[in-house]
């Protein structure tokens, strides 16, 4: 059994002291930023990119991945106790989680969120294990036309499945791709839109853009509005859900896990949309839909499972194809690249320690998270009482250090501040940042694969339509574009949940 031996090898790798420590630091920091409002996993991972220079490649990826799924745990804590989602994937958890807390059931809500996340995390690790190796052999047949098709599918997904205005998402995706063309032309190395600037010559940096759009803009918005943190003043007792809670939640957790995992694999989805869909699904099939929004425990369990499973699913395109399906994975891809490792179909053969080590570490990380989050929940709650006046200068400072240390270039800080202002305006005028950033990352790859395809075919477009895999992906991309118009339920589910949560 190749799988078993691979996994055992992975556990051996992840249990070495250095990797175990990296895993612990990752999930710990992840929980921390998940709990703290105003800084999320994306900004934190970008911030810690330069720190990973000093670490082994495997330990870096283990830590980075840990931050991501750790933040999924931490985010639910603030949703339940303060009605403020610590990060966007926990927005739905507010609906029933906060109601449960108000009824004195904060304990079981936190408990089921942690257990649901754990079960989902575990199932998604199993899913990666089973799906990634066979997909790797498919991925080996990917040439530029197939990659172009897949990226196109990603663009249509990210814009047509957004909860807000689709036209605005399209505008942001186009803007992101346009910003991605700054720098050297990928085929001919002609400078584009650089205006003689050295900073722009290398293209706009991903880290400054992310820190600006996700870190600085959030802080600026918060200091304008003023953050009021009222922790729910109640003793949290009885974290363990009752037998009755389990009976209600078991099936929703299972459904949320499967849904989240498979949605997470698709490019452009991320961890947020699965939570909306899973919540809507549970309410639709529930025999008592009226309970939702008034403290239904399955309304906490299902989306929490979905967002954790989605983080696992999202690892698949990264590990097998080297393509980032969402913004977080784009940062993770960056972490691979600074260590000179190209994730993709060859990863499992050339770096089995990384491939299996990272997968096994996610399992280890989920266990650590369960320990961190259940007995230590009181500690995280105390963190919510740190005054924002102390917190926001620190967040800004960390953003500056992270951006500067990448290349010791103060102009990168300027780029970050500019995108901080752009991000603030985008938030105020109702534009989403995720399509912009994802398109920024994938846009360059799309142009490159498109032009490589044309070079391969000596300028004939039939190369996109004569290779079955490429054609299939293009048809799928087209289908996603047409689907919402043809099948209204998809649109309706996303629409109604979006309205309720005000996103």
């Amino acid at each position: 059994m190749e799988l078993i031996s691979g996994l055992l090898y992975g556990f051996a790798v992840s249990f070495t002291p250095a990797n175990l420590f990296a895993c612990f630091v990752g999930v710990f920091v992840g929980t921390l930023v998940g709990v703290l409002p105003g800084i999320g996993p994306v900004a934190t991972m970008s911030l810690l990119l330069p720190v990973t220079y000093a670490m082994s490649p495997t330990a870096s990826i283990i830590m980075m991945a840990g931050i991501y799924y750790g933040a999924m745990y931490g985010g639910s804590t603030t949703s339940i106790l303060v009605n403020i989602p610590g990060e966007a994937a926990s927005v739905v958890t507010c609906l029933d989680g906060y109601q449960m807390a108000r009824q004195g059931r904060a304990g079981p809500a936190l408990g089921i969120a942690a257990f649901g996340s754990f079960i989902a995390g575990t199932l998604s690790v199993l899913g990666i294990m089973l799906l990634a190796p066979p997909l790797t052999s498919v991925a080996l047949r990917f040439g530029p036309p197939e990659i172009f098709g897949l990226l196109l599918l990603g663009f249509t997904m990210v814009t047509y499945l957004t909860a807000g205005s689709k036209l605005r998402a399209v505008a942001m995706a186009l803007l992101g791709m346009l910003l991605g063309t700054v720098g050297l032309d990928p085929i001919l190395a002609t400078p584009r839109f650089t205006y003689g600037s050295v900073t722009l010559g290398d293209g706009l940096g991903l880290v400054p853009i992310i820190m600006g759009l996700f870190g600085v803009s959030e802080v600026l918005l918060n200091i304008e509005k003023g953050v009021t943190q009222e922790v729910f003043e109640t003793r949290i007792k009885g974290l363990l859900p009752t037998r009755e809670d389990w009976k209600i939640s078991a099936a929703p957790i299972a459904r949320g896990s499967v849904l989240g995992f498979f949605l997470g694999i698709l490019p452009g989805i991320g961890a947020i949309i699965p939570t909306f869909i899973s919540y809507a699904l549970e309410r639709r099939i529930s025999r008592h839909p009226e309970r939702f929004g008034t403290g239904a425990i399955e309304g906490v369990a299902a989306p929490e499972a979905a967002n954790n499973a989605a983080t696992g699913g999202a690892m698949i395109p990264l590990l097998t194809l080297g393509i980032a399906p969402n913004v977080v994975m784009a940062v993770l891809l960056g972490a691979f690249l600074i260590h000179g490792v190209q994730p993709g179909p060859l990863l499992i053969r050339e770096h089995p320690d990384m491939f299996w080590g990272v997968i096994a570490s996610m399992y280890v990380g989920n266990v650590i998270l369960l320990i961190l989050n259940l007995p230590l929940i009181g500690l995280w709650v105390q963190l919510l009482r740190v005054p924002y006046g102390l917190l926001f200068p620190l967040i800004l400072l960390f953003c500056i250090i992270g951006v500067y240390s990448e290349a010791s270039n103060v102009w990168d800080i300027v780029v970050m501040l500019v995108f901080g202002v752009i991000g603030l305006l985008m938030k105020k005028y109702g534009y989403e940042a995720a399509p912009l950033v994802l398109a920024f990352v994938l846009g360059g790859m799309a142009e490159e694969s498109f032009r490589q395809s044309l070079l391969l075919s000596h300028g004939h477009f039939d190369i996109l339509f004569t290779r079955p895999l490429a054609t299939g992906l293009l048809i799928l991309a087209l289908a996603v574009m047409v689907l919402p118009a043809v099948v209204p339920p998809v649109k309706r589910i996303l629409g109604t949940v979006g309205e309720e949560t005000g996103t």
Partner: protein
Amino acid sequence: MRGADRVSSFVLVLFALVAVNEARKLRLGTLTNPGPGFVPLCLALALALVALLLLWRALREPATPAPPAEPGERWKPVASLIALVAYTFALEPLGFVLATAALLFFFFRVLDGQRWWIALASAVVVSALSYLIFARALHVRLPEGPWS
């Protein structure tokens, strides 16, 4: 928000038109052998089109009076940004510790309204601590300034 929608989509249209103009200066190439300017021009044109659609949609909606301004202190983010820009350019001449202490003092004292000595003490402590953690323990390169 209708008025705001008009402004934001108008800004997008303007940006896209500038981008179209700039992209035209690059070699376009042909459809089957695209040059460096081909993809940027297509993207800029597409963005212009989408932004115009957004603008058209915003204009078609009846103009509603601007909603009452959300409670908030508009000066705070502006002041923070000015401080951050000043910090950015002071970072290399002054060195990380001094520049950071000054920035933090500004945040603690002016934005958060702490007493000046509490603000000063916490600014110095946080600045020194972050230097020790990032530059010494994590080996992140930070500007030393005149004390290198």
